[in-house]
Symmetry: C2
Amino acid sequence: MELTRAHKIAETLEQLVFSGGYKDGDRLDEVTLAEQFCVSRTPIREALQVLVSSGIARQIPRRGVFVRQPGPVELMEMFETMAELEAACGRLAATRITEAGLQELTEANSHCRAALGAKDHAQYYAENERFHQIIYRGASNSYLEKQALHLQNKLRAFRKTQLRFRGRLDQSMAEHCEIVDALQNADADRAAAALRGHVVVQGEKFHQLIASLNR
Amino acid sequence: MELTRAHKIAETLEQLVFSGGYKDGDRLDEVTLAEQFCVSRTPIREALQVLVSSGIARQIPRRGVFVRQPGPVELMEMFETMAELEAACGRLAATRITEAGLQELTEANSHCRAALGAKDHAQYYAENERFHQIIYRGASNSYLEKQALHLQNKLRAFRKTQLRFRGRLDQSMAEHCEIVDALQNADADRAAAALRGHVVVQGEKFHQLIASLNR
DNA sequence: ATATCAGTTATTGTATACAAGATGTTTGAC
DNA sequence: GTCAAACATCTTGTATACAATAACTGATAT
Protein backbone atom coordinates (compact mmCIF):
# COMPACT_ATOMS: atom_id res chain seq x y z
CA MET A 1 0.00 0.00 0.00
CA GLU A 2 1.83 3.02 -1.30
CA LEU A 3 1.20 6.45 0.02
CA THR A 4 1.58 9.77 -1.64
CA ARG A 5 3.56 12.60 -0.13
CA ALA A 6 0.63 14.64 1.11
CA HIS A 7 -0.76 11.61 2.88
CA LYS A 8 2.47 10.81 4.64
CA ILE A 9 2.56 14.38 5.88
CA ALA A 10 -1.04 14.08 7.04
CA GLU A 11 -0.28 10.90 8.97
CA THR A 12 2.80 12.42 10.55
CA LEU A 13 0.86 15.48 11.65
CA GLU A 14 -1.98 13.30 12.89
CA GLN A 15 0.34 11.30 15.08
CA LEU A 16 1.98 14.50 16.29
CA VAL A 17 -1.39 15.85 17.37
CA PHE A 18 -2.45 12.56 18.95
CA SER A 19 0.77 12.26 20.89
CA GLY A 20 0.34 15.71 22.36
CA GLY A 21 2.84 17.51 20.16
CA TYR A 22 0.34 20.30 19.70
CA LYS A 23 -1.97 21.95 22.17
CA ASP A 24 -5.56 22.84 21.56
CA GLY A 25 -5.86 25.96 19.45
CA ASP A 26 -2.35 25.84 18.03
CA ARG A 27 -2.25 27.20 14.54
CA LEU A 28 -0.77 24.97 11.87
CA ASP A 29 1.17 27.52 9.88
CA GLU A 30 1.54 26.53 6.26
CA VAL A 31 4.89 28.13 5.56
CA THR A 32 6.43 26.86 8.79
CA LEU A 33 5.26 23.32 8.07
CA ALA A 34 6.42 23.67 4.47
CA GLU A 35 9.89 24.49 5.72
CA GLN A 36 9.85 21.69 8.28
CA PHE A 37 8.86 19.12 5.68
CA CYS A 38 11.03 20.70 2.99
CA VAL A 39 8.20 21.01 0.49
CA SER A 40 6.09 23.80 -0.87
CA ARG A 41 2.77 24.86 0.60
CA THR A 42 0.75 22.78 -1.84
CA PRO A 43 1.27 19.32 -0.30
CA ILE A 44 1.01 20.84 3.17
CA ARG A 45 -2.38 22.27 2.34
CA GLU A 46 -3.58 18.94 1.02
CA ALA A 47 -2.48 17.31 4.25
CA LEU A 48 -4.22 19.95 6.33
CA GLN A 49 -7.49 19.30 4.53
CA VAL A 50 -7.23 15.70 5.61
CA LEU A 51 -6.75 16.70 9.24
CA VAL A 52 -9.71 19.06 9.06
CA SER A 53 -11.99 16.48 7.49
CA SER A 54 -11.25 13.96 10.22
CA GLY A 55 -11.97 16.48 12.95
CA ILE A 56 -8.43 16.68 14.26
CA ALA A 57 -8.21 20.32 13.26
CA ARG A 58 -10.64 23.11 12.59
CA GLN A 59 -10.43 25.46 9.69
CA ILE A 60 -11.50 29.07 9.78
CA PRO A 61 -11.59 30.41 6.24
CA ARG A 62 -8.92 32.98 5.47
CA ARG A 63 -7.59 32.57 9.00
CA GLY A 64 -5.91 29.22 9.05
CA VAL A 65 -6.31 25.75 10.52
CA PHE A 66 -6.05 25.15 14.24
CA VAL A 67 -5.60 21.89 16.07
CA ARG A 68 -8.63 20.80 18.01
CA GLN A 69 -7.84 18.65 21.00
CA PRO A 70 -10.86 17.06 22.62
CA GLY A 71 -12.11 18.67 25.81
CA PRO A 72 -13.20 16.67 28.85
CA VAL A 73 -16.74 16.15 27.62
CA GLU A 74 -15.74 14.95 24.17
CA LEU A 75 -13.09 12.77 25.74
CA MET A 76 -15.65 11.07 27.93
CA GLU A 77 -17.82 10.56 24.90
CA MET A 78 -14.95 9.03 22.98
CA PHE A 79 -14.16 6.65 25.82
CA GLU A 80 -17.79 5.67 26.06
CA THR A 81 -17.89 5.05 22.32
CA MET A 82 -14.69 3.04 22.56
CA ALA A 83 -16.29 0.93 25.27
CA GLU A 84 -19.24 0.19 23.02
CA LEU A 85 -17.00 -0.60 20.05
CA GLU A 86 -14.98 -2.97 22.19
CA ALA A 87 -18.15 -4.55 23.48
CA ALA A 88 -19.29 -5.07 19.90
CA CYS A 89 -15.97 -6.64 18.98
CA GLY A 90 -16.18 -8.90 21.99
CA ARG A 91 -19.75 -9.93 21.17
CA LEU A 92 -18.79 -10.91 17.63
CA ALA A 93 -15.46 -12.42 18.59
CA ALA A 94 -17.13 -14.68 21.12
CA THR A 95 -18.51 -16.87 18.36
CA ARG A 96 -15.96 -16.16 15.64
CA ILE A 97 -12.49 -16.07 17.13
CA THR A 98 -10.35 -18.99 16.05
CA GLU A 99 -8.44 -21.33 18.32
CA ALA A 100 -5.25 -19.66 17.10
CA GLY A 101 -6.75 -16.32 18.03
CA LEU A 102 -7.58 -17.51 21.53
CA GLN A 103 -4.04 -18.81 21.80
CA GLU A 104 -2.65 -15.43 20.82
CA LEU A 105 -4.97 -13.78 23.29
CA THR A 106 -3.83 -15.82 26.26
CA GLU A 107 -0.22 -15.23 25.25
CA ALA A 108 -0.79 -11.48 25.03
CA ASN A 109 -2.43 -11.62 28.45
CA SER A 110 0.61 -13.42 29.85
CA HIS A 111 2.83 -10.70 28.43
CA CYS A 112 0.62 -8.13 30.12
CA ARG A 113 1.04 -9.92 33.43
CA ALA A 114 4.79 -10.16 32.93
CA ALA A 115 5.07 -6.45 32.18
CA LEU A 116 2.96 -5.72 35.22
CA GLY A 117 5.25 -7.84 37.38
CA ALA A 118 8.27 -6.02 36.02
CA LYS A 119 6.59 -2.65 36.71
CA ASP A 120 7.31 -1.84 33.08
CA HIS A 121 4.46 0.54 32.34
CA ALA A 122 5.45 1.29 28.75
CA GLN A 123 5.61 -2.41 28.03
CA TYR A 124 2.25 -2.95 29.71
CA TYR A 125 0.63 -0.30 27.53
CA ALA A 126 2.01 -1.94 24.40
CA GLU A 127 0.94 -5.46 25.40
CA ASN A 128 -2.45 -4.23 26.53
CA GLU A 129 -3.03 -2.62 23.15
CA ARG A 130 -2.07 -5.84 21.46
CA PHE A 131 -4.48 -7.77 23.67
CA HIS A 132 -7.33 -5.59 22.58
CA GLN A 133 -6.29 -5.60 18.94
CA ILE A 134 -6.48 -9.38 18.92
CA ILE A 135 -10.10 -9.11 19.99
CA TYR A 136 -10.80 -6.57 17.25
CA ARG A 137 -9.39 -8.99 14.72
CA GLY A 138 -11.28 -11.85 16.32
CA ALA A 139 -14.55 -10.10 15.52
CA SER A 140 -13.87 -10.98 11.90
CA ASN A 141 -15.24 -7.71 10.67
CA SER A 142 -12.51 -5.63 9.10
CA TYR A 143 -14.64 -2.51 8.94
CA LEU A 144 -15.43 -2.63 12.64
CA GLU A 145 -11.80 -3.52 13.31
CA LYS A 146 -10.64 -0.43 11.47
CA GLN A 147 -13.01 1.78 13.44
CA ALA A 148 -11.80 0.29 16.70
CA LEU A 149 -8.15 0.67 15.76
CA HIS A 150 -8.70 4.26 14.75
CA LEU A 151 -10.35 5.22 18.01
CA GLN A 152 -7.79 3.26 20.01
CA ASN A 153 -5.09 5.26 18.27
CA LYS A 154 -6.89 8.52 18.89
CA LEU A 155 -7.25 7.78 22.59
CA ARG A 156 -3.77 6.37 23.17
CA ALA A 157 -2.28 9.41 24.84
CA PHE A 158 -5.27 9.81 27.12
CA ARG A 159 -5.56 6.16 28.03
CA LYS A 160 -2.09 6.28 29.49
CA THR A 161 -3.02 8.99 31.95
CA GLN A 162 -6.25 7.16 32.68
CA LEU A 163 -4.45 3.96 33.53
CA ARG A 164 -1.96 5.83 35.66
CA PHE A 165 -4.74 7.33 37.73
CA ARG A 166 -6.48 4.05 37.95
CA GLY A 167 -3.97 3.03 40.54
CA ARG A 168 -4.36 -0.67 40.69
CA LEU A 169 -3.44 -2.13 37.36
CA ASP A 170 -4.20 -5.47 38.99
CA GLN A 171 -7.88 -4.78 38.52
CA SER A 172 -7.24 -4.36 34.84
CA MET A 173 -5.58 -7.76 34.75
CA ALA A 174 -8.51 -9.40 36.51
CA GLU A 175 -10.84 -7.92 33.94
CA HIS A 176 -8.64 -9.30 31.18
CA CYS A 177 -9.04 -12.77 32.61
CA GLU A 178 -12.81 -12.40 32.75
CA ILE A 179 -12.77 -11.32 29.10
CA VAL A 180 -10.63 -14.26 28.04
CA ASP A 181 -12.86 -16.64 29.93
CA ALA A 182 -16.01 -15.30 28.33
CA LEU A 183 -14.48 -15.57 24.87
CA GLN A 184 -13.28 -19.11 25.53
CA ASN A 185 -16.82 -20.06 26.54
CA ALA A 186 -18.24 -18.29 23.50
CA ASP A 187 -20.44 -16.23 25.82
CA ALA A 188 -21.20 -13.20 23.68
CA ASP A 189 -23.15 -11.21 26.26
CA ARG A 190 -20.61 -11.77 28.99
CA ALA A 191 -17.70 -10.87 26.70
CA ALA A 192 -19.45 -7.70 25.63
CA ALA A 193 -20.27 -6.68 29.16
CA ALA A 194 -16.77 -7.42 30.40
CA LEU A 195 -15.16 -5.37 27.67
CA ARG A 196 -17.59 -2.51 28.11
CA GLY A 197 -16.85 -2.34 31.81
CA HIS A 198 -13.14 -2.67 31.23
CA VAL A 199 -12.86 0.28 28.91
CA VAL A 200 -15.42 2.70 30.22
CA VAL A 201 -14.28 5.56 32.36
CA GLN A 202 -16.14 5.37 35.59
CA GLY A 203 -17.75 8.48 36.92
CA GLU A 204 -15.55 8.42 39.99
CA LYS A 205 -12.49 8.75 37.80
CA PHE A 206 -13.95 11.63 35.90
CA HIS A 207 -12.40 14.42 37.88
CA GLN A 208 -9.01 12.76 37.81
CA LEU A 209 -9.31 12.51 34.07
CA ILE A 210 -10.16 16.16 33.75
CA ALA A 211 -7.26 17.05 35.99
CA SER A 212 -4.97 15.04 33.77
CA LEU A 213 -5.80 17.25 30.83
CA ASN A 214 -3.51 20.00 32.09
CA ARG A 215 -0.41 18.50 30.65
CA MET B 1 -19.99 26.63 10.67
CA GLU B 2 -18.38 27.96 7.56
CA LEU B 3 -16.82 25.73 5.01
CA THR B 4 -14.04 26.39 2.60
CA ARG B 5 -14.34 25.70 -1.10
CA ALA B 6 -12.31 22.52 -1.16
CA HIS B 7 -14.46 21.07 1.60
CA LYS B 8 -17.70 21.86 -0.13
CA ILE B 9 -16.36 20.09 -3.21
CA ALA B 10 -15.36 17.13 -1.08
CA GLU B 11 -18.82 16.89 0.46
CA THR B 12 -20.49 17.15 -2.91
CA LEU B 13 -18.30 14.41 -4.34
CA GLU B 14 -18.86 12.28 -1.24
CA GLN B 15 -22.62 12.49 -1.62
CA LEU B 16 -22.28 11.77 -5.32
CA VAL B 17 -20.35 8.61 -4.56
CA PHE B 18 -22.72 7.57 -1.77
CA SER B 19 -25.78 8.07 -3.94
CA GLY B 20 -24.36 5.87 -6.64
CA GLY B 21 -23.28 8.59 -9.04
CA TYR B 22 -20.01 6.76 -9.55
CA LYS B 23 -19.32 3.11 -9.99
CA ASP B 24 -16.52 1.21 -8.35
CA GLY B 25 -13.21 1.88 -10.08
CA ASP B 26 -14.27 5.09 -11.77
CA ARG B 27 -11.40 7.49 -12.07
CA LEU B 28 -11.91 10.96 -10.64
CA ASP B 29 -10.22 13.02 -13.31
CA GLU B 30 -8.82 16.24 -11.96
CA VAL B 31 -9.21 18.39 -15.04
CA THR B 32 -12.73 17.16 -15.74
CA LEU B 33 -13.79 17.86 -12.17
CA ALA B 34 -12.03 21.22 -12.31
CA GLU B 35 -14.14 22.15 -15.32
CA GLN B 36 -17.33 20.84 -13.73
CA PHE B 37 -16.77 22.87 -10.57
CA CYS B 38 -15.35 25.84 -12.46
CA VAL B 39 -12.16 25.97 -10.43
CA SER B 40 -8.54 25.07 -10.99
CA ARG B 41 -7.05 21.70 -10.13
CA THR B 42 -5.74 22.87 -6.77
CA PRO B 43 -9.01 22.84 -4.79
CA ILE B 44 -10.05 19.67 -6.58
CA ARG B 45 -6.90 17.91 -5.45
CA GLU B 46 -7.46 19.02 -1.87
CA ALA B 47 -10.97 17.61 -2.03
CA LEU B 48 -9.73 14.33 -3.48
CA GLN B 49 -7.30 13.92 -0.61
CA VAL B 50 -10.24 14.12 1.76
CA LEU B 51 -12.09 11.39 -0.12
CA VAL B 52 -9.02 9.19 -0.11
CA SER B 53 -8.39 9.66 3.59
CA SER B 54 -11.93 8.63 4.45
CA GLY B 55 -11.71 5.51 2.35
CA ILE B 56 -14.26 6.58 -0.24
CA ALA B 57 -11.60 6.59 -2.92
CA ARG B 58 -8.26 4.95 -3.44
CA GLN B 59 -5.19 6.72 -4.71
CA ILE B 60 -2.55 5.12 -6.83
CA PRO B 61 0.47 7.43 -6.97
CA ARG B 62 1.05 9.00 -10.37
CA ARG B 63 -2.01 7.21 -11.68
CA GLY B 64 -4.95 9.00 -10.14
CA VAL B 65 -7.69 8.47 -7.58
CA PHE B 66 -10.45 5.94 -8.15
CA VAL B 67 -13.76 5.59 -6.34
CA ARG B 68 -13.98 2.58 -4.13
CA GLN B 69 -17.49 1.28 -3.66
CA PRO B 70 -17.85 -1.38 -1.00
CA GLY B 71 -18.18 -4.94 -2.21
CA PRO B 72 -20.66 -7.40 -0.72
CA VAL B 73 -18.36 -8.47 2.09
CA GLU B 74 -17.50 -4.95 3.19
CA LEU B 75 -21.15 -4.01 2.89
CA MET B 76 -22.15 -6.78 5.24
CA GLU B 77 -19.48 -5.65 7.64
CA MET B 78 -20.74 -2.10 7.50
CA PHE B 79 -24.31 -3.20 8.18
CA GLU B 80 -23.12 -5.30 11.08
CA THR B 81 -21.17 -2.37 12.47
CA MET B 82 -24.20 -0.14 12.00
CA ALA B 83 -26.26 -2.64 13.97
CA GLU B 84 -23.79 -2.49 16.82
CA LEU B 85 -23.65 1.30 16.75
CA GLU B 86 -27.42 1.46 16.85
CA ALA B 87 -27.46 -1.02 19.69
CA ALA B 88 -25.01 1.16 21.57
CA CYS B 89 -27.13 4.23 20.97
CA GLY B 90 -30.21 2.38 22.16
CA ARG B 91 -28.43 1.12 25.26
CA LEU B 92 -27.39 4.63 26.25
CA ALA B 93 -30.62 6.26 25.16
CA ALA B 94 -32.63 3.89 27.35
CA THR B 95 -31.52 5.72 30.46
CA ARG B 96 -30.80 9.14 28.99
CA ILE B 97 -33.47 10.05 26.49
CA THR B 98 -35.70 12.86 27.64
CA GLU B 99 -39.48 12.86 27.77
CA ALA B 100 -39.42 15.27 24.85
CA GLY B 101 -37.19 12.84 22.98
CA LEU B 102 -39.62 9.99 23.62
CA GLN B 103 -42.40 12.21 22.41
CA GLU B 104 -40.50 12.95 19.20
CA LEU B 105 -39.82 9.26 18.79
CA THR B 106 -43.42 8.20 19.00
CA GLU B 107 -44.36 10.96 16.59
CA ALA B 108 -41.70 9.87 14.12
CA ASN B 109 -42.98 6.33 14.44
CA SER B 110 -46.50 7.51 13.67
CA HIS B 111 -45.18 9.23 10.58
CA CYS B 112 -43.52 5.98 9.57
CA ARG B 113 -46.80 4.17 9.93
CA ALA B 114 -48.61 6.85 7.96
CA ALA B 115 -46.08 6.68 5.14
CA LEU B 116 -46.39 2.92 5.17
CA GLY B 117 -50.18 3.15 4.92
CA ALA B 118 -49.85 5.55 2.01
CA LYS B 119 -47.40 3.18 0.29
CA ASP B 120 -45.07 6.16 0.05
CA HIS B 121 -41.70 4.43 0.13
CA ALA B 122 -39.59 7.57 -0.23
CA GLN B 123 -41.45 9.13 2.66
CA TYR B 124 -41.02 5.98 4.74
CA TYR B 125 -37.27 6.03 4.19
CA ALA B 126 -37.09 9.64 5.30
CA GLU B 127 -39.23 9.12 8.40
CA ASN B 128 -37.39 5.92 9.26
CA GLU B 129 -34.07 7.76 9.14
CA ARG B 130 -35.49 10.42 11.40
CA PHE B 131 -36.72 7.78 13.83
CA HIS B 132 -33.24 6.36 14.14
CA GLN B 133 -31.59 9.76 14.33
CA ILE B 134 -33.73 10.62 17.34
CA ILE B 135 -32.33 7.57 19.08
CA TYR B 136 -28.77 8.60 18.17
CA ARG B 137 -29.42 11.98 19.75
CA GLY B 138 -31.09 10.34 22.71
CA ALA B 139 -27.86 8.57 23.54
CA SER B 140 -26.55 11.95 24.62
CA ASN B 141 -23.13 11.28 23.21
CA SER B 142 -22.38 13.58 20.32
CA TYR B 143 -19.28 11.66 19.28
CA LEU B 144 -21.19 8.40 19.01
CA GLU B 145 -24.03 10.26 17.36
CA LYS B 146 -21.69 11.60 14.71
CA GLN B 147 -20.32 8.13 13.99
CA ALA B 148 -23.82 6.72 13.68
CA LEU B 149 -24.94 9.54 11.39
CA HIS B 150 -21.90 9.09 9.22
CA LEU B 151 -22.43 5.38 8.74
CA GLN B 152 -26.15 5.85 8.24
CA ASN B 153 -25.32 8.31 5.48
CA LYS B 154 -22.81 5.94 3.94
CA LEU B 155 -25.32 3.10 3.88
CA ARG B 156 -28.33 5.07 2.72
CA ALA B 157 -28.30 3.94 -0.90
CA PHE B 158 -27.86 0.31 0.09
CA ARG B 159 -30.44 0.32 2.86
CA LYS B 160 -33.09 1.23 0.33
CA THR B 161 -32.44 -1.87 -1.72
CA GLN B 162 -32.28 -3.89 1.48
CA LEU B 163 -35.68 -2.68 2.62
CA ARG B 164 -37.17 -3.31 -0.77
CA PHE B 165 -36.08 -6.94 -0.66
CA ARG B 166 -37.27 -7.30 2.82
CA GLY B 167 -40.75 -7.51 1.49
CA ARG B 168 -42.87 -6.89 4.53
CA LEU B 169 -42.19 -3.45 5.83
CA ASP B 170 -44.78 -4.31 8.46
CA GLN B 171 -42.14 -6.34 10.26
CA SER B 172 -39.98 -3.22 10.38
CA MET B 173 -42.83 -1.33 12.00
CA ALA B 174 -43.35 -4.01 14.62
CA GLU B 175 -39.67 -3.81 15.48
CA HIS B 176 -39.98 -0.05 15.84
CA CYS B 177 -42.71 -0.51 18.39
CA GLU B 178 -40.59 -2.95 20.35
CA ILE B 179 -37.76 -0.42 20.33
CA VAL B 180 -39.99 2.39 21.52
CA ASP B 181 -41.40 0.20 24.26
CA ALA B 182 -37.94 -0.78 25.51
CA LEU B 183 -36.83 2.84 25.56
CA GLN B 184 -39.98 3.93 27.40
CA ASN B 185 -39.29 1.29 30.03
CA ALA B 186 -35.63 2.32 30.24
CA ASP B 187 -34.65 -1.27 29.48
CA ALA B 188 -31.14 -0.84 28.09
CA ASP B 189 -30.49 -4.46 27.18
CA ARG B 190 -33.81 -4.91 25.44
CA ALA B 191 -33.42 -1.64 23.52
CA ALA B 192 -29.96 -2.64 22.39
CA ALA B 193 -31.07 -6.11 21.31
CA ALA B 194 -34.11 -4.77 19.49
CA LEU B 195 -32.07 -2.23 17.56
CA ARG B 196 -29.35 -4.72 16.74
CA GLY B 197 -31.88 -7.16 15.34
CA HIS B 198 -33.69 -4.42 13.51
CA VAL B 199 -30.67 -3.22 11.59
CA VAL B 200 -28.67 -6.34 11.03
CA VAL B 201 -28.89 -7.93 7.65
CA GLN B 202 -30.02 -11.44 8.30
CA GLY B 203 -28.05 -14.21 6.71
CA GLU B 204 -31.12 -15.32 4.80
CA LYS B 205 -31.20 -11.96 3.07
CA PHE B 206 -27.54 -12.12 2.13
CA HIS B 207 -27.95 -13.47 -1.37
CA GLN B 208 -30.67 -10.99 -2.16
CA LEU B 209 -28.38 -8.22 -1.02
CA ILE B 210 -25.56 -9.43 -3.22
CA ALA B 211 -27.92 -9.70 -6.14
CA SER B 212 -29.00 -6.11 -5.54
CA LEU B 213 -25.46 -4.89 -6.09
CA ASN B 214 -25.82 -5.13 -9.86
CA ARG B 215 -27.44 -1.78 -10.22
C1' DA C 1 0.56 -11.39 -37.05
C1' DT C 2 2.45 -10.46 -32.77
C1' DA C 3 5.60 -8.61 -29.75
C1' DT C 4 8.77 -5.13 -28.47
C1' DC C 5 10.75 -0.72 -28.29
C1' DA C 6 10.97 4.25 -29.20
C1' DG C 7 8.72 8.55 -29.34
C1' DT C 8 4.72 11.16 -28.25
C1' DT C 9 0.98 12.51 -25.44
C1' DA C 10 -1.45 13.02 -21.33
C1' DT C 11 -1.84 13.19 -16.37
C1' DT C 12 -0.23 13.63 -11.88
C1' DG C 13 2.77 15.97 -8.38
C1' DT C 14 5.11 20.11 -6.97
C1' DA C 15 6.48 24.81 -6.97
C1' DT C 16 5.64 29.47 -7.70
C1' DA C 17 2.99 33.57 -8.86
C1' DC C 18 -0.93 36.24 -8.07
C1' DA C 19 -5.37 37.72 -5.71
C1' DA C 20 -8.10 38.59 -1.67
C1' DG C 21 -8.82 39.13 2.89
C1' DA C 22 -7.20 39.59 7.80
C1' DT C 23 -4.01 41.31 11.18
C1' DG C 24 -1.04 44.77 12.96
C1' DT C 25 0.88 49.34 13.03
C1' DT C 26 1.33 54.02 12.53
C1' DT C 27 -0.51 58.40 12.24
C1' DG C 28 -3.71 61.80 13.28
C1' DA C 29 -7.61 63.89 15.68
C1' DC C 30 -10.04 64.78 19.86
C1' DG D 1 -3.57 59.63 26.50
C1' DT D 2 -6.95 57.14 23.90
C1' DC D 3 -9.57 55.97 19.99
C1' DA D 4 -10.10 55.57 15.07
C1' DA D 5 -8.91 55.24 10.43
C1' DA D 6 -5.71 54.50 6.72
C1' DC D 7 -1.78 52.07 5.34
C1' DA D 8 1.49 48.26 5.32
C1' DT D 9 2.32 43.47 6.03
C1' DC D 10 1.34 38.86 6.40
C1' DT D 11 -1.46 34.69 5.47
C1' DT D 12 -4.59 32.15 3.07
C1' DG D 13 -6.91 30.73 -1.31
C1' DT D 14 -6.56 30.03 -6.20
C1' DA D 15 -4.48 29.70 -10.63
C1' DT D 16 -0.83 28.61 -13.54
C1' DA D 17 3.73 26.93 -14.87
C1' DC D 18 6.96 23.34 -14.73
C1' DA D 19 8.79 18.52 -13.76
C1' DA D 20 8.31 13.64 -13.64
C1' DT D 21 6.20 9.55 -14.73
C1' DA D 22 2.75 6.66 -16.70
C1' DA D 23 -0.20 5.55 -20.83
C1' DC D 24 -0.55 5.44 -25.74
C1' DT D 25 0.70 5.08 -30.56
C1' DG D 26 3.14 3.54 -34.22
C1' DA D 27 6.89 1.50 -36.37
C1' DT D 28 10.08 -2.26 -36.85
C1' DA D 29 11.80 -6.82 -36.34
C1' DT D 30 11.04 -11.66 -35.79
